[in-house]
């Protein structure tokens, strides 16, 4: 399970995360919605130490760290337990699809190359890209690249999958295949925190929806509640615009 207390991140004068408190149970699927620039991506990035928070306590599984003073090895311990799916896929450009998935198993978890590649092949089959094992990212479509990105996150077998606007950078034709794969991951009760602009998708897969504005969680609840009878005027205004 994941627990975040008082997570704060400032960029200069600008407070992007303003003391976020958040608990996510194992197997829970949480979607984050809200206007752009309200700290949704920064929340995810802070949980993976791609941004270094200014304050806060982060617990992921058996590891608890003070986010502002976490050492390099503490940061790695958190990263090992939180896999990340990037908006722009961020596949390793010098590795094949198979090795993109196997890489973390080899370097971070110390698997043998053969073992890691065998696992990668299994995952490629699951995500429907078995025949692309030898392809480099440059030769894959956006949708295929993002599916490999999700495969890489699946391989990490992390406490929680952090998914940052997985379809925002995709051409419309590839959005569906990525959402379908994410739906399957969600159906397998993978714990996840997903930032998305796909409201229907959030409604379909999430156990809980967070609405963020101004670096705070303004309102949260079950999707049928948030989407049909939001309490906060900011949530209502936002949903009126996007639905």
């Amino acid at each position: 399970m994941i627990s975040v207390k008082g997570l704060t991140k400032r960029f200069g004068e600008n407070t992007v995360l303003d003391g976020i408190d958040l608990d996510i149970a194992t197997g829970e699927r949480v979607a984050v919605i809200g206007p752009s620039g309200t700290g949704k991506s920064t929340l995810l990035r802070s949980l993976n130490f791609l941004e270094k928070p200014d304050a806060g306590i982060i617990t992921v599984g058996d590891v608890t760290v003070d986010a502002s003073t976490a050492s390099a090895s503490e940061q790695r311990a958190v990263r090992r337990r939180t896999s990340f799916v990037f908006q722009n896929y961020a596949l390793f450009a010098n590795k094949t699809a198979r090795d993109n998935i196997a890489e973390g198993l080899i370097t971070v978890r110390g698997w043998s190359r053969a073992q890691a590649q065998a696992r990668a092949e299994e995952i490629l089959a699951t995500i429907g890209l078995a025949e692309k094992a030898e392809s480099y990212p440059a030769a894959l479509s956006g949708g295929q690249q993002q599916r490999v990105g999700i495969g890489r996150a699946m391989a990490a077998d992390a406490e929680i999958m952090l998914i940052d606007e997985p379809t925002s950078a995709l051409d419309p034709e590839w959005v569906d295949e990525v959402l379908q794969l994410l739906k399957r991951v969600a159906d397998a009760r993978q714990t996840m925190l997903i930032v998305t602009h796909e409201m229907q998708f959030a409604r379909d897969i999430a156990d809980r929806v967070l609405f963020m504005d101004g670096g705070r969680i303004v309102e949260q609840g079950a999707p049928e509640v948030i989407f049909t009878e939001p309490k906060d005027p900011r949530t209502r205004a936002f949903l009126r615009k996007v639905l």
């Binding site: 993976n48 130490f49 791609l50 390099a72 790695r76 990263r79 090992r80 896999s83 990340f84 990037f86 722009n88 896929y89 961020a90 596949l91 390793f92 450009a93 010098n94 590795k95 094949t96 890489e103 973390g104 370097t107 971070v108 480099y136 990212p137 440059a138 030769a139 890489r152 990490a156």
Partner: protein, 224 residues
């Protein structure tokens, strides 16, 4: 105008070719050492390692800011007067040392630029899976930087090969030194030096062919 002494030139070829291995050996050793040193310095600079970063900057500034010939003389003739243990150093070693340090300074800046040129997303992806900085550099960043830097680095290798000719000023009989000796004996300076020029030229042309192969190989991941 006097006619060229073609027989002399043809006779000279096998004599000079005997020195090609030494020239290539000096250049290759200097290249490998310079590449290793330059990569370390580039990483130190990119990661801004405290202390080492400043030291590297001074090193690069000195070795780029002074002529190679001056550096070679400093190593071979100068340093042994200050540090007596260096008196045993021979011309070949001094030349390789000088070439290594000189070209490492240039190559460090090229490699640094190439590392910075690797997309930020590659750093983030490496870190996000939990790699250490060393793992990230070795497995993800440097291989991609190598592709960016390869053409420039091969150019430096070409430069190193040609610069080994300066070893002759340290009393080393390498390709240039051999040509000089032959010319001094026969007084046929043009024949001797045009032959040595052609030999350098052919070596560099062969290397350029290897470069194209290398670029194809390094570009494999980026073919669409």
């Amino acid at each position: 105008m006097r006619p060229l002494d073609l027989d002399y030139m043809l006779g000279l070829l096998p004599v000079l070719l005997k020195y090609v291995p030494l020239t290539l050996a000096m250049a290759s050793v200097a290249m490998v050492l310079a590449l290793a040193l330059a990569s370390l310095m580039a990483i130190v600079r990119v990661l801004r390692v405290p202390g080492l970063d400043q030291l590297t900057k001074v090193f690069i500034s000195f070795f780029r800011g002074t002529p190679l010939l001056v550096q070679l003389f400093l190593f071979y003739y100068g340093l042994p007067q200050i540090f007596s243990f260096l008196t045993a150093i021979d011309g070949v070693t001094a030349a390789v040392m000088g070439l290594t340090l000189h070209f490492a300074a240039y190559m460090a800046e090229s490699i640094r630029a190439a590392i910075i040129g690797v997309d930020r997303s590659q750093w983030e992806a490496s870190l996000s899976v939990g790699m250490t900085t060393a793992q990230m550099m070795r497995r993800i960043i440097l291989p991609q930087a190598a592709r960016i830097a390869a053409p420039t680095l091969v150019n430096y290798f070409v430069d190193i090969i040609k610069s080994t000719s300066l070893a002759f000023t340290l009393g080393v009989t390498e390709l240039m030194g051999a040509a000089q000796k032959e010319a001094a004996g026969s007084f046929l300076y043009f024949e001797a030096f045009i032959m040595v020029a052609i030999i350098y030229w052919v070596i560099v042309e062969l290397l350029t062919m290897v470069q194209r192969q290398l670029e194809v190989r390094l570009g494999k991941a980026h073919a669409r």
